[in-house]
């Protein structure tokens, strides 16, 4: 920002010209940022992607001990009809053993605050790097905690979908859902 109006000793008072230089530069920077924003924002999800498609799933055909996978927002959602044993195991875990402490009850409560311990509904995406964990289909490896096991980097989840071992930092995410009736759940 040196200009000819500054005396040779470099300690002259700021002149009108200096002020105009700084003001013009600042305005230019603000303008450049304002122009950059639409370019950056352009890459964000479009309105049709955002239009939050909610899906309704009938849970009647899912037997105790079974689980199904449905697709929501391009992601798999696990719906597991848990056995008594699954529920007991999940409830018995002390909070101190959990890397991301959450009670089992809080993970099976729908948006109307109704607790249904037999239905566990989660986004089936490992919180490490986004793989779909195994354990939802019969015969798949459920991992050492009887829930889900991610084959990509070895994260193991319990029967409440909580992270127990491996690199994933968080429990499997519970989406917003509501039981419209005892047999019909709306996800989203």
């Amino acid at each position: 920002m040196a200009s000819s109006s500054v005396p040779a000793d470099g300690h002259g008072d700021p002149t009108r010209r200096d002020f105009l230089m700084v003001a013009t530069g600042a305005l230019g920077a603000v303008g450049a940022a304002a122009v950059a924003w639409p370019f950056i924002n352009n890459l964000n999800p479009a309105a049709d992607t955002l239009a939050l498609a909610s899906i309704e799933v009938s849970v009647t055909p899912i037997e105790v001990g079974q689980a199904i996978t449905v697709k929501w927002r391009g992601k798999p959602v696990f719906i597991r009809h848990r056995t008594e044993k699954d529920i007991k195991e999940a409830e018995a875990v002390p909070m101190s053993e959990l890397p991301d402490p959450q009670t089992d009850n809080s993970r099976v409560t729908d948006s109307a605050k109704k607790v249904r311990p037999e239905w566990l509904i989660m986004i089936g995406v490992c919180t490490h790097l986004g793989c779909v964990p195994l354990g939802n289909k019969p015969g798949q490896d459920k991992g050492p905690y009887g829930g889900w096991y991610c084959p990509c980097h070895g994260s193991a989840y319990d029967t409440s979908g909580r992270i127990r071992k491996g690199p994933a930092p968080l429990n499997l995410v519970i989406p917003e859902y509501l039981f419209v009736s005892d047999s019909l759940v709306r996800i989203g």
Binding site: G74, L134, P167
Partner: protein, 411 residues
Amino acid sequence: MASSHGTPPVFNNKVIAWIDYRLPIFSYIEKEYHTFPTPRNFNYFWNFGAIATVMLVLMIATGVVLATNYTPNVLMAFDSVERIDRDVPSGWLMRDLHMNGASFFFIAVYVHIFRGMYYGSYKQPRELLWILGVVIFLLMMATAFMGYVLPWGQMSFWGATVITSLFSAIPVVGDSIVTWLWGGFSIGNPTLNRFYALHYLLPFIIVAVVALHVVALHVHGSNNPTGIDPKGPQDTVPFHPYYTMKDGFGVVIFLIVYSAVVFFAPDMLGDAANYIPADPLVTPTHIVPEWYFLPFYAILRAVPDKLGGVIAMFGAIAVLFVLPWLDTSRVRSSTFRPIYKWFMLLLVVDVVVLGFCGANPPAGFWIPLSQVATLYYFVHFLILLPVLGKIERPLPLPPSIADSVLKKKAG
């Protein structure tokens, strides 16, 4: 640009002289690629810069042709690549050249990086030259990653999911960044579209950075196997015909090996799972990136913490940027560094071991092995390099390049 070498050329052809007087491209070529004084003692490791350049041109040529038949849409991408392979005239050749070209481009660049590290080509006054090289390497990785997504197979989809999810490890804003990268809530059509656009753009940016890399190279000229500077005309030969011929010879040998893979084993370096169309609901049992990313993937998995793993992986590349300042030895070439030489070769072994760790499932002895190998990688750069430069006693350097060449011949 470089200091003057010789008198300016006189062009007998009137058209060339007319153009050159107004736009001195012929003088430039003459000065930088003909009379340019180059150390007389290059070994074959010095071929790989030229080889990498040839691969870059080849990738752009085949890529532009492939783009005329490819469709970046999640419903059509996989089929359009199969159509290129089966129905489009010479499509199979263009695709196999491009697909394997990526691998051979990385082979050339990895040898080129090794040469730079072994012979200390990154040291003063070539630090910026080296940094521009690391920038090219990063751009190549981004380009290759996005190119691998385009066929929209299972490995494309899940590789993209894993790599983009790396950014979710960033505290607070991580998830927003990932949504921004994806243009949605999962890898989908917006992601494929933007990756295609960027995959087409980045190679030309690489060309621009390569140009800067070459300009920086020609300021102080090439390093050489002795690591000592040329002291006069007896130490150098003109670039043409000596090194145009030697580079040409190396390029031909390299292309023969490349062609053998393209024609006889085009899927050897790929993953069979990428011939299964992408399925967002089923993760392949074993996700592996392309071979050239395996060492970095192993470092990512070696750290049992999400953010820690991501930091270690990016750190493994970031450390290359500061390599010129981590190495405290003033001797460039490892030939004259009796201790460092062996650690440098151990680093090569270490990176290969990391590659095998990355290729295998994260279980059993692969976990501790990848942790030990990751530890050595960082110890090499952050501890051995600064310390060895201080305590190692280098061998006596030859008085000049000419001297070392003639002595070798006589002895």
